[in-house]
Symmetry: C2
Subunit: 215 residues, 2 copies
């Protein structure tokens, strides 16, 4: 398992890609905000390849921001990458989209990532410099209100006000943060476990599962 690696994330409104070439040099592309992922993702991938002066056949590995995030967006991204990989047959590394957001803060302290998941729910990640301190989960916003206040990052506005929490800015470009996450986790990751196809991570439980949780 080695570079060049091409990575894609669509968990936010704005799709972004990064490519790390064999020399470790990073190239990035970011879509115009609000454009439908189905129209923008493929040109982004092609643009970043062109920027790095590589072709599809030069790639050794793919990566996908697996979510949690928008159901349709993630499925479309996973389907497109699966299509790209139908002939390439490369390993695909699944990245947490919350971990990418955590990297955007450039903070070296543990921090929460809290993304509104609609229906009164929130995707919750806990990270320090890209490393997962707890598994990503989906909770009710009311559960967050019961937690000790802390620092958090978010792409979207939280669905509730979190008065004593400290919201961190996101100074780093998301595509750049994704490349930094990949480089940070590279040596700590079992790259032999990657498969040539990948499932999005939805995390949201069905109502039946929720009911069981509260028994």
């Amino acid at each position: 398992m080695t570079y060049p690696l091409l990575a894609l994330d669509v968990a936010t409104n704005t799709a972004c890609v990064c490519l790390i070439n064999a020399e470790g040099k990073v190239f990035t592309e970011t879509a115009s905000p609000g454009k439908q992922h189905s129209n923008t993702v493929l040109p982004l991938l092609q643009d970043v390849l062109k920027q790095a002066d590589l072709t599809w056949g030069d790639l050794k590995m793919l990566a996908l921001g697996q979510g949690p995030g928008s159901f349709t967006g993630l499925r479309i991204a996973a389907a497109m990458l699966a299509g790209v990989n139908a002939s390439l047959k490369l390993p695909i590394w699944g990245l947490s989209s919350l971990a990418i957001t955590a990297m955007q803060t450039q903070s070296d302290k543990p921090l929460w990532v809290l993304e509104d998941a609609r229906a009164g729910e929130v995707f919750v990640g806990y990270y320090q410099q890209g490393e997962r301190l707890q598994d990503d989960v989906c909770k009710c916003w009311s559960e967050i209100q019961g937690m000790p206040t802390d620092s958090f990052a978010a792409q979207q506005e939280p669905a509730i006000t979190l008065p004593d929490w400290h919201r961190l800015p996101l100074p780093m470009d998301r595509a750049q943060a994704m490349s930094l996450l990949i480089q940070t986790l590279w040596d700590k990751t079992d790259h032999t476990a990657h498969t040539p196809w990948i499932q999005p991570v939805y995390l949201q439980l069905s109502q039946a599962e929720k009911n069981l949780q509260h028994v």
Copy 2:
């Protein structure tokens, strides 16, 4: 523009593919009903290639059942095919999913295809042996009730009862019908107009557009 051609349709609950090789021989694969398209489509494409003893690089053209049909399913299929085609750069021919259903009837007379589109609406096609007699449109079911009764075909149960209409059976396998549609339309189609990416056809109007129609 020539064979081998690989075609995919996901407009029904059951994804299907067909491959027509350079000698005009047809190979088909059909997913198990009800399986999520995102998991089944790629193996189907790979299975039909294997069956025909071809590789991705042997293909000269792709085709996609463009809809009208399920929004998410069509977008996923279009995204996957776009991904596959990122390196192949083949022309993609858009087929009406309603035309494929019309072919399944094996009728040589003009017939309607009426597929429930939810929200009181119906996708309407009018075909004779694969040839489009009217553009595919989206109407209200109540408009169908006002039309002269005729023969129709449908994959799904109509949302209303159509007492004096004659519902045609669908004796032909859908993947087989798709290959027959391709062969029937081949000489009548401007293959130079195909592009290497394709948009799904949704047909359903926004509420604002509907309001304008009724002014």
